[in-house]
């Protein structure tokens, strides 16, 4: 059950090149949030943008939540300019959490760029459920890597400045060839092209795989029908990312 709140900014700091960690006070959302869920944010003053913007809940504390973002447009620029004491209007937690309780032994977390955002909270829940964890992170360069509160990290960078030189999905494939990851399940998050590649890899390697999708949203709560993703399920052509996702079994959807 989501809430709508005016949440004070507790801190807003740059944690890697162009990447911000924003902590918002909200005991209620912190308590309700499950990994993979998101909040929908707008400004409380007159500043742009017009619609809310969705962000994964990255981590939660006693009475606050962390969001991780980089500046891509009006919304994230507005968020980056918020200082301690300012407020943001938050709607959440929204969406279907990751299936962290399912029957598996090793969680393989695969994050491309800001796709790492939901992993700190997911890691906490996986540990609580005594799952083994290996985390694959992909970033442009070593300066774009965020790895706090994660476990067993394998890094890939586009420019080879740290870890594997290449995409995060190829780093997973190469690792898989030489390491045993018993009872695996992939949890993927990142840009759509990366998720598409990850989905193919998972199917090829016969690993269960859940993806958290990005995509345009207007409402985030199922009112507008604005966030379709094509399904493989037959009876309905599209599912709604905001309420039936953002996490989906990779076999249930078609990413274009």
């Amino acid at each position: 059950m989501p809430l709508q709140q005016v949440a004070p900014v507790l801190s807003n700091i740059q944690i890697a090149e162009g990447i911000f960690l924003l902590t918002l006070e909200s005991k209620e959302i912190a308590q309700l949030a499950r990994p993979g869920q998101f909040v929908n944010i707008r400004s409380t003053d007159g500043s742009l943008p017009f619609l809310r913007r969705p962000f994964s809940i990255s981590h939660v504390h006693e009475d606050s939540i962390d969001l991780m973002f980089n500046i891509v447009g009006q919304g994230t620029r507005m968020m980056a300019s918020r200082r301690v004491g300012d407020t943001l209007d938050v709607l959440g937690p929204l969406g279907k959490p990751f299936g962290y309780e399912a029957h598996f032994e090793t969680a393989i977390l695969v994050g491309g760029g800001l796709g790492v955002a939901p992993f700190p909270l997911l890691t906490r829940y996986l540990k609580k459920h005594s799952k083994k964890i290996t985390t694959f992170l992909g970033a442009r360069t070593s300066r774009h890597i965020v790895s706090t509160n994660l476990e067993n990290i394998q890094i890939a960078t586009d420019d080879g400045s740290s870890g594997f030189h290449g995409t995060v999905v190829s780093s997973l494939e190469s690792y898989w060839g030489s390491h045993a990851l018993p009872g695996p399940k992939i949890f993927g998050c990142g840009p759509t092209p990366m998720l598409r590649a990850l989905s193919e890899t998972a199917q090829k390697l016969h690993i269960a795989c859940e993806l958290s999708l990005e995509g345009d949203m207007a409402c985030g709560v199922g009112l507008c029908q604005g966030c379709p993703v094509e399904t493989t399920k037959g009876e309905r052509k599209y599912a709604l990312v905001c309420i039936e996702g953002p996490t989906f079994n990779c076999n249930d959807i078609i990413l274009r």
Binding site: M1, P2, L3, Q4, R42, P49, F50, L51, R52, L91, G215, D216, M217, A218, C219, V221, G222, L223, C224, Q225, G226, C227, P228, V229, E230, R236, K237, Y238, I243, R256
Partner: protein, 314 residues
């Protein structure tokens, strides 16, 4: 105590703020966030005979103070609606308006007649901004004769309130307003979305999969007000004002130019309780200005008639 209610063909609305079709799902999506019983009414997502998948993504684009949508009337279809959605709506203590979309005169009639047999529907709103499949896909709503024909035909099938929702994408909306009044409509909703588009200059493609879509939100409020005002000059049936309403002040502008009630659309995506807040704010305004019945504000704008003819000397 301010009188907020109004009546349409015997159906009483507890206040003058409804939520607009396509912007409030089937009413149950946000029941935990909003007390929907405080709304004057709920217009359902447009219902067609068969379920509709809707358009491929991308369906939504933000624009300055507004958004474009090309949902493609994605909906569960009237049968599923009756089976799965209507039971909840029956428990809600507000007026339920079934919005109907169709691609032929026949389909409009079929959907309405099936709904007529159900408990829990208080009235109909007819979305005529739909392609007329027989006539090559041109919208029914931009064809005055067709709009009138749909109205007359549906009028024969129901004694419940029949509201025709007009498109703004015509030269003279007043012609359409007059035509549907003549054909027996109980009210008109003004406006549906304005045709618009946006382009991704990097991909050199339209942002929406369907090239053009419907513009809504505060950006269109001035247009919507002018359309309501134009329609109000020629019809005596109630007008429901729609377009860019975010606040009670916005809603009051619509009442003053001649709307009997309003619908809140896009604002629900930003704050699903906008409708409730707008109703509240209208009450405060009435109290502040000593207005005992919000109905007194309908069309109460003083205006300099001398200038209406100058409309185009911009």
């Amino acid at each position: 105590m301010v009188k907020e209610s109004f009546t349409l063909r015997g159906v009483e609305f507890k206040n003058r703020v409804l939520v607009a079709s396509g912007t409030f799902g089937y009413g149950n999506e946000v029941k935990e966030l909003v007390d929907v019983n405080l709304l004057g009414g709920i217009c359902t997502k447009s219902l067609s005979w068969k379920p509709r998948d809707g358009n491929p993504p991308r369906r939504i684009v933000e624009t300055p103070s507004g958004m474009l949508n090309s949902i493609g009337l994605a909906n569960v279809g009237v049968e599923y609606f009756i089976r799965e959605k209507l039971p909840y709506l029956r428990t809600v203590e507000t007026v339920i308006i079934a919005n109907i979309a169709a691609s032929s005169l026949q389909e409009y009639g079929d959907v309405l007649s099936l709904l007529e047999k159900q408990e829990g529907i208080d009235g109909y709103e007819i979305n005529v901004s739909c392609p007329n499949v027989k006539e090559g896909g041109l919208s029914f709503g931009t064809d005055c004769a067709k709009t009138k024909e749909i109205t007359a035909s549906l009028r024969r099938r129901t004694e419940k309130p029949l509201i025709i929702k007009l498109t703004p994408n015509v030269t003279h909306i007043s012609e359409f307003a007059r035509a549907v009044q003549e054909a027996g409509a109980d009210a008109i909703s003004v406006i549906n979305t304005v045709v618009g588009m946006a382009v991704d200059i990097h991909k050199k493609k339209p942002k929406l999969s369907t090239v053009t879509g419907g513009l809504s939100g505060p950006a269109i409020k001035p247009i919507a007000l002018a359309k309501v005002y134009e329609a109000a000059q020629v019809v005596s049936i109630p007008i429901i004002g729609i377009g860019g309403i975010m606040t009670a002040e916005d809603a009051l502008e619509f009442l003053l130019v001649g709307a009997t009630a309003v619908q809140v659309g896009t604002a629900n995506f930003i704050d699903p309780s906008t409708g409730v807040k707008v109703a509240e704010g209208m009450r405060s305004y009435a109290e502040r200005y000593g207005v005992s019945d919000l109905g007194q504000l309908v069309g109460a704008m003083e205006s300099n008639k001398e200038f209406s003819v100058l409309q185009s000397w911009l």
